[in-house]
Symmetry: D2
Subunit: 294 residues, 4 copies
Amino acid sequence: MTTSLEGIFVALTTPFDGEDIAPDRLRENVRRLNATGVAGYLVLGSTGESVSLTDAESLALVDAVLDAAAPDKKVLVGTAREWTKGTIDFTAALPARGVAAVLVRPPSYFKSKMTRDALKAHYLAVADASPHPVLVYNMPANTGISLEPGFVVDLAPHPNIIGLKESSGSIAFLEEVVRRVPEGFHYFVGSGHVVYPGLEMGASGAILAVANAAPDLCAEIFRRYKAGDKDRARELQLDLVPLNKALMETYGIAGLKHAQDLLGFCGGPTRLPLLPPTDAAKADIAALLKNLGL
Amino acid sequence: MTTSLEGIFVALTTPFDGEDIAPDRLRENVRRLNATGVAGYLVLGSTGESVSLTDAESLALVDAVLDAAAPDKKVLVGTAREWTKGTIDFTAALPARGVAAVLVRPPSYFKSKMTRDALKAHYLAVADASPHPVLVYNMPANTGISLEPGFVVDLAPHPNIIGLKESSGSIAFLEEVVRRVPEGFHYFVGSGHVVYPGLEMGASGAILAVANAAPDLCAEIFRRYKAGDKDRARELQLDLVPLNKALMETYGIAGLKHAQDLLGFCGGPTRLPLLPPTDAAKADIAALLKNLGL
Amino acid sequence: MTTSLEGIFVALTTPFDGEDIAPDRLRENVRRLNATGVAGYLVLGSTGESVSLTDAESLALVDAVLDAAAPDKKVLVGTAREWTKGTIDFTAALPARGVAAVLVRPPSYFKSKMTRDALKAHYLAVADASPHPVLVYNMPANTGISLEPGFVVDLAPHPNIIGLKESSGSIAFLEEVVRRVPEGFHYFVGSGHVVYPGLEMGASGAILAVANAAPDLCAEIFRRYKAGDKDRARELQLDLVPLNKALMETYGIAGLKHAQDLLGFCGGPTRLPLLPPTDAAKADIAALLKNLGL
Amino acid sequence: MTTSLEGIFVALTTPFDGEDIAPDRLRENVRRLNATGVAGYLVLGSTGESVSLTDAESLALVDAVLDAAAPDKKVLVGTAREWTKGTIDFTAALPARGVAAVLVRPPSYFKSKMTRDALKAHYLAVADASPHPVLVYNMPANTGISLEPGFVVDLAPHPNIIGLKESSGSIAFLEEVVRRVPEGFHYFVGSGHVVYPGLEMGASGAILAVANAAPDLCAEIFRRYKAGDKDRARELQLDLVPLNKALMETYGIAGLKHAQDLLGFCGGPTRLPLLPPTDAAKADIAALLKNLGL
C-alpha cells in the first residue's frame, strides 16, 4: 500500500440550485479551499447529504471535485449503500483515477441483524472488490450502529482496508485501536471537537464538516501540532469548540451551509427533509463566526 | 376518498436468483397467495429488502406483483427514500393503475434533525405530490425514529393520507390514535404478535411479514374476529406467536425465506449484508412449522 | 401455593406532610378505596415514591395500609433494593401477616453487569429467602433494564415466584409468557393503557397508578370483562386512555397526586427531585377529569 | 473557596467478609495506597458498591478511610440518594472534619421526569444544605441520565459546587465546560482511558477505579504530565488502556477486586447481584497485570 493520508480533510457540503445539484458551485468552493492548508476533500459524505442524492447526481459531484481539486489535495469519496452489492457497484462506477480512498459506513437499516459477522462479511466483500482503498466509517449518531474498536482491529490487516473515520468523537476508541493496527493504518477523527486530542493520541488527521466554514482554523490545529506547538494547537482546538458544537450538533448541515454563505462560499439550501435554519439560528451562527474573526 | 382497505396484507419477500432479482418467482409466490384469504400485498416493504434494491429492480418487482395479483387483492407499495424529492420521484414512477396505496417510512439518516416539524414537512410534501394514497409507516426498530401518536393524529386529516402501518407492536399507540382520526383512517398493525388485539381495539387489519409463511393462519385470525368468534381468534393469535417471534425477531428475513422454502414458496437467499440462516436456525424453523401443522 | 390474585390493584401514592410521610392520610385514602371494586393495594411501588423513602418510613406506610385495608382487599408490597441482601433483609422486616405478595424490580445501577445469570441469581436468592410470595417486576422505563419473556418463563417454576408485573405495556410480552408458565402464574399488566387487551390475552389483572384517581373506572373494566361484556370493557378502556397518558406519561406522579386532590383523596406534594405540576398541567388534568365525569 | 484538589484519586472498592463489610481491610488497602503518589480517595463511589450498602455500613466505611488516610491525602465521599432530602440527610451525617468534598450523582429512577429544572433544583438544594463542598457526578452508563455540559456550566457559579466528575469519558464534554466555568472549578475525568487527554485539555485530575489496581501507573501519568513530559504521559496512558478496558468494562468491579487480590490488596468478593469473575476472566486479568509488570 502506497497511499499515505494525513491532515485535515473537508467533508464537503453539496450545493443545490433549486431542485438540482449545482456542481459548478461545488467546483467554486473547492477552488477556494485549494488555497487553504487542508489536505484534501471528502465528497459524498454525510455532510454532503449523500443519502439525498441519486447515483447520477453523486457521480457528477465526484467529477466536479476531481476536476477542481488542486494536484496536492487528496480526494476521498463516500460510497456506502445499504446493501453489499450496491456498495460494490457504486464504488466500481467511480472514475479510475484520482480517488485516494473510499469511505464506507456500515449498512444500518436491518439494525438487529448487523452482527459482527454480518458487518465483517460486508466490509470484506467491499474491500475485496473495490478498486480503491477503503476507509471504514463509524457514525453511530446517524446509523444507530456502533462499531467496536476490536472489530476495526480485526479488519485492519486486510490489504485494501487502509483506515477508519471515527465520528463518535471517542478518544477511548482511538486508544483501543491505535496500538493494535498495522503500521500505516490511517485513523481519522470525524468530530471537530477532538482534532488536537486525537492527533496527540495517534490519529493521522481529521475529516471534518466544520472545515467547510473554518478550513484555516482546522488546518492550523494540525500544522501547529506537527510543528510541536501543542499549547497553541490546544488553544485553537478550544477556540473551535463553540462553532463546531453549533454547526454540527445544534443547527446541523443547514446551519453549516448558512455559515458558508456568510463567509462567501456557496452554501445554499439543504434538500428536504432537512429544514432551513431559523432566524435565531442564523443570528447565533453569525455571532459565532464573528467571535472567531471569520 | 374511496379507498377502503382491511384484512391481512402480506409484506412480500423478494426472491433472488444469484445476484439478480427473480420477478418470475415473485409472481409464482403471489399466485399461490392469491388462493388464500389474504386481502393483498405489500411490495417493497422492509421484508422485501427494499433498501437493498435499485430503482429499476424495484419497479420490475412492482410490475410483477401488479401482474400476478388476483383482481380482488389490493397492492400496496413501499416508496420511501431518505429524501423528500427522492420519495416523490419514485412514487411518481409507479404505474398509474393498480396501486391501492403507497407506504412511506420516515427519513432517518439525519436522526437528530428529524424533528416533528421536519417530518411533518416531509409527509405533507409527499402526500401533496403523490398520485396514490399514502400510508404513514412507523418502524422504530429499523429507522431509529419513533413517530408519536399525536404526530399521526396531526397528519390524519390530509385528504391523501389514508392510514398508518405501526410496526412497534404497541397497543397503546393504537389506542391513542384510534378515536382521534377521521372515520375511514386505516390503522394497520405491522407485527404478527398483535393482530387480534389490534383488531379488537380498532385496527383495520395487519401488514405482516410472517404471512409469507403462514398466510392462512393470519387470514383466519382476521376472519374469525370479523365473524365474532373472538375466542378462536385469540387462540390462533397465540398459536402464531412462536413462529412470528422466530421469523421476525430471532432469525429475521433470512429465516422467513427459509420457512418459505420449506413450505414450497420461493424463498431463497437474502442479499448481503443479511447473512443466511445457520443450521441450528433452520432446524428450529422446521420444528416451529411442524408444530403449527404447516 | 394457595395465593390467588386477580383484578385491579391500586399502586398507592404516598402522602407527605411537609418533610414527613403522612400515614394517616394514606389510611384515609385506603379507606375510601375500600368502597370501590378494586382487588387490593400495592404499597411501596414506583408510584409510592418508594425510592424516596427510608426503611423506617417504608415500614410505617406498610403498617398503615395493612391496618386500613378491608379484609377482602389483598396487599402487595414493593421491597426491591439495589442489592440482593438488602432486598432480602427488607422483605424479612415486613409484618408476618397480611402481605399477599412482594413485588421485586431488578437491581439496575450496574446495568451492564445485569446479565441474565446475574438477575437469575438475584431473583432465586430473594425468592428462596422471602417469607412472602414474590412477583417479578419489569419496569424498563425506570430501571433501564428490560427483562426478557424467556427470563420470566425460566423463573416461573420456582414455588415462591407467583407472577409478574409487566409495566412496559407490551402485549407481545404477555403473549410470549402466558402459555409457557405454570397454571396459576399471575400476570399483571402495569400500564393503564392495556388493562382490557391484557385481560383478553390472559392477564390476571392489573396493578395501576391511575387507579388512585379512577378506581371505579379501572375496576369496571375488569368487571365487564369478567362478565363477558367485552364491548363495554373496550369502550371503558379507550375512555381511560387520555387520563392515563396524562397522569402516567405527561405529568407523572405529581400530576396524579394533583388529580387525587381534585377528587377528594389525599394527594399532596411529591418529594423532590419530583417537581410539582405547573398551572397548565393542573388545568389540563382538571379538564380530563371533568371529561370522564369524575 | 479554599479547597484545591488535583491529581489522581482512587475510587475505593469495598471489602466484604462474608455478608459483612470489612472496614479493617479497607484501612489496610488505604494504608498501602498512602505510600503511592495518588492524591486521595473516593469512598462510597460506584466502585465501592455504594448502592449495595446500608447507611450504617456506609458511615463505618467513611470512618475507616478518614482514619487510615495519610494527612496529605484528600478524602471524597459519595453521598447520593434517589431523593433530595435523603441526599441532604446522609451528607449531613458525615463527620464534620476530614471530608474534602462530596460527590453527588443525579437521581435517576424517575428518568423521564429528571428534566433540567428538576436536576437543577436537586443540586441547588443539596449544595445549599451541604456542610461539605459538592462535586457533581455525570455517570450515564449507570444512571441512564446524561448531564449536559451547559447544565454543569449553569451550576458552576454556586459557591458550594466546586467541580465535576465526568465518567462518560467524553473529551468533548470537557472542552465544552472548561472555558465556561469559574477559575478553580475542578474537572475530574472518571475514566482511566482519558487521564492524559483530559489533563492536556484542562482537567484537574481523575477519580479512577482502576487506580485500586494500578495506583502508581495512574499517578505517574499525572506526574509526567505536570512535569511537562507529555510523550511519556501519553505512552503510560496507552499502557493503561487494556487493563482499564478489562477491569472497567469487560469484567467490572468483580474483576477489579480479583486484580486487587492478585496484587496483594484486599479485594475479595462483590455483593450480589454482582457475580464473581469466571476462571477465564481471572486468567485474562492475571495476564494483563503481568504485561504491565504489576
